[in-house]
Symmetry: C2
Subunit: 766 residues, 2 copies
């Protein structure tokens, strides 16, 4: 018996060398003292710590800000679980480096952009809703810099679509959904002419610059936005800001606030006061109140006009049809948030100390009565503030955004200048509690806190500045998301989480149980289009096809080899497409793929098919390999692309031989394999001696182990052919491959055994 | 007094509405019960929790794998503090989206690559060393896919240089440094012809494919690699793998192991056994033992040849000069690690159950005695394993990498197949402890664990698979870094950290106190070249210059306006360059910048100057803005780029007027300002009444507050001019700008006040 096999047997005999649980030579008191932790710190640690293998209660989807991604983290542990590539290419996911995702980025380019836009300034994520509740199916997010909306499917956490706004040059008020995700809303920020590539001097800002709101129609069955069924509404050149949809009684309406209704144009370099002065001069701006259900009918009735192939309801039509109203709101507001019951709309003016609570009933009464205090310069009726206001509540300096608790009437508002969160009652108008945050909070988030059924429990403060909170990492600081326990009478700050990439603006959190992501694809799936991939093949169906100067490879990936391992029919100038199907079924058995020297990378999860494409623009030898450490033999999961010079003729010089093997080598390998099988059998005996079927993860591992073991017969048959032919070289190599499958089987078996031992598996009677 | 001012006064009176500390309505026992935590979980939580404002003990720099970044996280909290863009563009940092960083990516392109490579497969970070100790000055990291080394400066955590390997097509054994960072080492992985773009059929693999090792000369003063002073050594076409430098007695030597010394070429698609079988057939591979100090002299003596402009020592020269030797090592090894005292070299064979401990003394004795067991096919002398071996220790299945403890002779080795970490004694050969990890560990890291003075305390297991450890996030799983407390007799698993992007291979951790990052740049610095930026201007020096079809803007950024706010002298086809200097001095006061419609983004930290450049390729109106939320008026930090059509003539139609202001408006604003000043004075009175000078962060805030207040006189003067001229419109706007500076001053004052109150400031006697 070889040394390695002896060891394996030994390990099994002593229960895998597991540590006994008697490690605690330092007790809790020692640790608290050594680390300078208070009892309050310990309580916070106990509220946030998630032990190995346990789950977080909520999953947060945070905008990645100007990193252009979405960040997924768990609550209360505040551990980042995934970055999702959205507007910015991300090679780990192959996003922007394989053909399927490149198409998404290509289709999502702004109108007429010549150089591709390969980043985004993502601001506001929104989870799809059914009857006003988060349904956990889709996530939407916007790009402020180049107005766009992306669609992410929460079955696989992949970006499936980006739609570029056909009219806007800037936006901020996206993505926000209506209560059944009929529409994804996107409102402008900085006004500009609506026509693409139209130049209008700033002197005609008031006349020809416009804001707007786009209602993107979401086709839930297809899981994609339908641009043809979408439409917009023209708005004045105020800087529209944030958006919310009505719900319950206010369902069918949407609310958009604004700043710079002064329509001020700066120019400090030419002696004019800057934008910041002119855009904050007046004491009020306007809340836009818009009826989207009626707008939909107006578009259907053919009353919209068309710009750049997109339907838009002009302001005069909107006014005439009674679907657009304004209400004064103090001062340079940032957040507009509809209460869970849909009866009130809360606006926070960042240069005012109040939140203003508007009553939907009062707004409707004023509209019904035709009671307006006047019209704005674009003819839009203005409802008097006093006719719409339920109450104003004084909270502090720089109120921005509001979220809601599971407790009736309880709201939370961020105070930017005060660096605080205020808890208050929007029914009584009472301030209930305040807590300081660090520093300068922008948005805040409670659990499902903008749905019609918030879950309470936790609040996250999305702070804009971290300053002194963390170990210094240079002039560019992380942001700081602070977790606050809101389940008790007083709010309790329990965790500081550095955000290491981008500046998240808004985040949404959903009960983790509402998400049902998959772990594998149906074999041969193009994940970006959710359809069978034309380049997919099954094991044994691999092929390389050359037509003219196009080489197309239909390959597969499995622990631990790529089929094909050599691509040598390529000449300089050929276009090479490599389709790869991951044949694995096992959870987490992703393979990656790249070809050195070319700007391609694919992440190929179990069942997926991905294509990479490039022009072989220079001769040479280019190794390719699996980029995801997939088994002990991962580094050997390699191949060579050879690109011949044009008209290459082989010199005919023979190469020197490498290593060859004899019958002695074969016998040795064969003996090893037989011994290894005995070990595997003993692992199997252990596993089947306990209640392993009660552990779904173990059942999956055992299935995978049988998959691996099942490959042995095939290579054994090849070995037998070689043995019969006296070809000891190939016989030894195929015997080696048999052993590789044994190692993979043993790997899984041992992993399963450890799991069972650590999770209290029990002996079963046979 | 206006409402907002009243509120401010009130807040100060009641101590900012701070919560009292009596929140603990749920006690520790309740929390443990509710969350199902054991006493052991609580102990782990206490060992890892870092309260708000406190610091981590160590900073880890982890490779970002195929995300192409470096990930920085704190230990023991395992919170990610920063992603550093290295091989992949990252817009938050402006990396790849501004001109300075684009140059770094451009200069780091592989030889003759036509389409730019915009990602990397980063594997092994290395911290610069002085006398074998981490000095915290620089970080190096490699790209396996397109052989390159990047240099990151730890003063600002920015990538400063990427050098592409002139010879290799694939690498793995980088970056590893010599004990005084004389060289950064980079070894090949998959062999290929060394000449760029040379095609050689695989039949001549043994004859014309080669491996190699590059010694990149590091110029510490410049903080850059000097490619001209760098050289390589030719190696056989074995798959060289990992690298380590000798230290102490073995200083001057380097060690490289290998797999596939069988020189097997697969081809499963043509009936041959795959690479994984042929590359693991033999029981041993080769450890390469190389004298880099002597190699340096050989190159200086002109004995190297030149390929692609780069000096390389051919194998026959290396053999003749006695600087290259081989030692058999079992089997398909992955890690080679020199002990802290430099006397031993530990190799782990991933398909063997042992670690093999080689003695540097024995190796030298064999070399001195000329005692070799033969030569490899390339004439390299082979030292017999028994002549070099100190001992072999049986650890378990799939041993990979070894790191060291602060305790003498104590080592830790990762066991991939067993999914365990073994603690053992490399002096006595005893196994001391084992712990299970989840799952399939690759590298592992102890604190400063590959320096000559490891710090012990913590170990991180860099696991390749997470499988069931975290909330599911689709088929593509995060990795799992598990933190293990190694300060006691038994190892204790204390934290599971999901790695949300890429697959880290190796990581290095340094005592946080050894890092001294800056928080601002000298005004006008180009951070990528560490030199004054030619586009920098000070406040008041802003200008726009047009020469032919080139428009060059020299602008500035400050809370909260961009100078200039309008760029309107651009015609279609012009090349636009915008240089921006951040005038801020305050910590964390970063501004971002982008122009909608163009693929540019800059992150401009305090003092930095950055340029973005693009071709104005289509007419229209393109808003630009600050992308980093920098003050309450951040959204108003905006401007317009107007691109005129060729030969545009204005229609001369006048625009309608927007909002204008009267003396009444002015008087109101003026009154507000006077009241606000009283409030600021009272905040100042509070701050100066306590020992604020004992708090450096507060001192910085106070300085920043005075900076903001100091701007008031300038705008007041402009207001006075307008008042004198009876220009109430501009008088009101400048009065508004005065108020904006007051708001910024108050923001800082309140932040400082909160800090002082939360951190126990004491009243001082005047």
């Amino acid at each position: 018996m070889s040394i390695r096999i002896k060891r394996l047997t030994l390990l099994i005999a002593v229960g895998l060398g597991m540590s006994s649980p008697g490690w605690a030579s330092e007790d809790l008191k020692d640790v608290l003292k050594r680390r300078g932790l208070s009892q309050q710190d310990l309580l916070a640690a106990a509220k946030t710590y998630v032990p190995t293998g346990k789950r977080d209660e909520y999953l947060a989807f945070s905008s990645g800000g100007h990193a252009g991604q979405v960040i997924v983290y768990g609550i209360p542990s505040m551990r980042i679980l995934k970055y999702i590539g959205v507007f910015t290419p991300e090679p780990w996911q192959g996003y922007g480096y394989d053909e399927e995702s490149r198409k998404i980025l290509r289709d999502g380019q702004p109108p007429n952009a010549k150089e591709p836009i390969l980043w985004g300034d993502s601001h506001h994520p929104a989870i799809s809703e059914t009857e006003g509740k988060y349904d956990g199916q889709f996530l939407f997010i916007n790009d402020k810099a180049n107005p766009r909306i992306a669609v992410i499917d929460l079955r696989d956490f992949e970006t499936k679509q980006i739609v570029a706004n056909p009219l806007f040059k800037s936006e901020h008020g996206g993505a926000f959904v209506t209560p059944n995700t009929e529409y994804v809303m996107e409102a402008t920020q900085y006004a500009a002419p609506l026509e693409p590539n139209k130049y209008v001097p700033l002197e005609r800002f008031n006349d020809e610059y416009r804001g707007g709101m786009t209602y993107w129609k979401f086709d839930r069955k297809k899981g994609r936005i339908d641009p043809k069924a979408s439409f917009s509404m023209e708005l004045p050149p105020y800087s529209q800001d944030l958006v919310d949809a009505g719900k319950g009684p206010s369902n069918g309406w949407s609310f958009v606030n604004s700043f710079c209704s002064e329509r001020y144009v700066g120019g400090i370099e030419r002696g004019r006061p800057p934008f910041e002065a002119g855009c904050s001069a007046r004491d009020t701006d306007y809340l836009h109140v818009m009826n989207w259900k009626k707008a939909e009918q107006i578009v259907a009735a053919g009353k919209a006009k068309t710009i750049n192939g997109h339907k838009i309801i002009p302001m005069d039509v909107a006014v005439k049809e009674g679907i657009l109203f304004l209400i004064p709101e103090p001062k340079s507001p940032h957040g507009v948030d509809v209460t869970p019951d849909g009866t009130k709309i809360i606006v926070a003016g960042k240069l005012d100390t109040h939140v203003s609570v508007y009553s939907f009933d009062k707004i409707q009464a004023a509209i019904k009565a035709g009671k307006f205090e006047g019209k704005d310069p674009y003819g839009i009726p203005i409802i008097a503030m006093k006719d719409a206001l339920d109450k104003q509540v004084q909270l502090g300096l720089g109120p921005l955004h509001t979220q809601f608790d599971s407790k009736k009437c309880v709201a939370y508002t961020s105070l930017y200048v005060d660096s605080q969160v205020a808890r208050w009652d929007f029914c009584s108008g009472k301030v209930l509690d305040k807590i300081s945050v660090h520093y300068n909070i922008g948005h805040l988030m409670t659990m499902e806190g903008d749905s019609n059924s918030p879950k309470g429990k936790y609040l996250v403060a999305l702070n804009k500045l971290a300053i002194d909170r963390f170990n210094p990492v240079g002039p560019l600081h992380p942001q700081n998301h602070q977790l606050i326990d809101i389940s008790n009478d007083k709010m309790h700050l329990i965790y500081d989480m550095p955000l290491p990439l981008g500046e998240p603006h808004y985040a949404v959190a959903i009960d983790a149980d509402s998400l049902k992501p998959g772990i594998r694809y149906k074999l041969g799936t193009d994940s970006r289009s959710d359809s069978p991939h034309p380049g997919a093949v099954k094991a044994g169906g691999e092929k390389t096809v050359k037509k003219g100067n196009k080489v197309e490879v239909f390959g597969t990936l499995i622990r631990s080899h790529i089929v094909p391992e050599i691509i040598d029919n390529v000449e300089v100038g050929d276009e090479v497409t490599i389709h790869l199907t991951n044949l694995e079924r096992a959870q987490d058995e992703t393979h990656g793929f790249t070809v050195g020297g070319y700007n391609v990378h694919a992440s190929v999860e179990p069942g997926k098919t991905v294509s990479v494409k490039f022009k072989a623009d220079r001769p040479g030898v280019y190794p390719y390999y699996c980029t995801e450490f997939c088994s002990a033999l991962h580094l050997e999961m390699q191949g060579y692309l050879l690109v011949k010079p044009k008209g290459y003729k082989d010199s005919g010089v023979a190469g020197k031989a490498g290593t060859t093997y004899t019958k002695v080598d074969f016998d040795k390998q064969y003996k090893t394999n037989i011994e290894t099988q005995a070990v595997i059998d003993s692992v199997v005996a252990y596993i089947t001696s306990v209640n392993y079927k009660d552990f779904p993860d173990v059942v999956a591992m055992v299935e995978d182990a049988f998959d691996q073991a099942g490959k042995i017969d095939g290579v054994k048959a090849k070995m037998d052919v070689a043995v019969k032919a006296g070809d000891w070289n190939n016989a030894t190599l195929w015997a080696g491959q048999w052993w590789q499958y044994q190692v993979k089987t043993a790997d899984l078996g041992l992993r399963a055994k450890t799991y069972l031992e650590q999770n209290g598996a029990k002996k079963v009677k046979k």
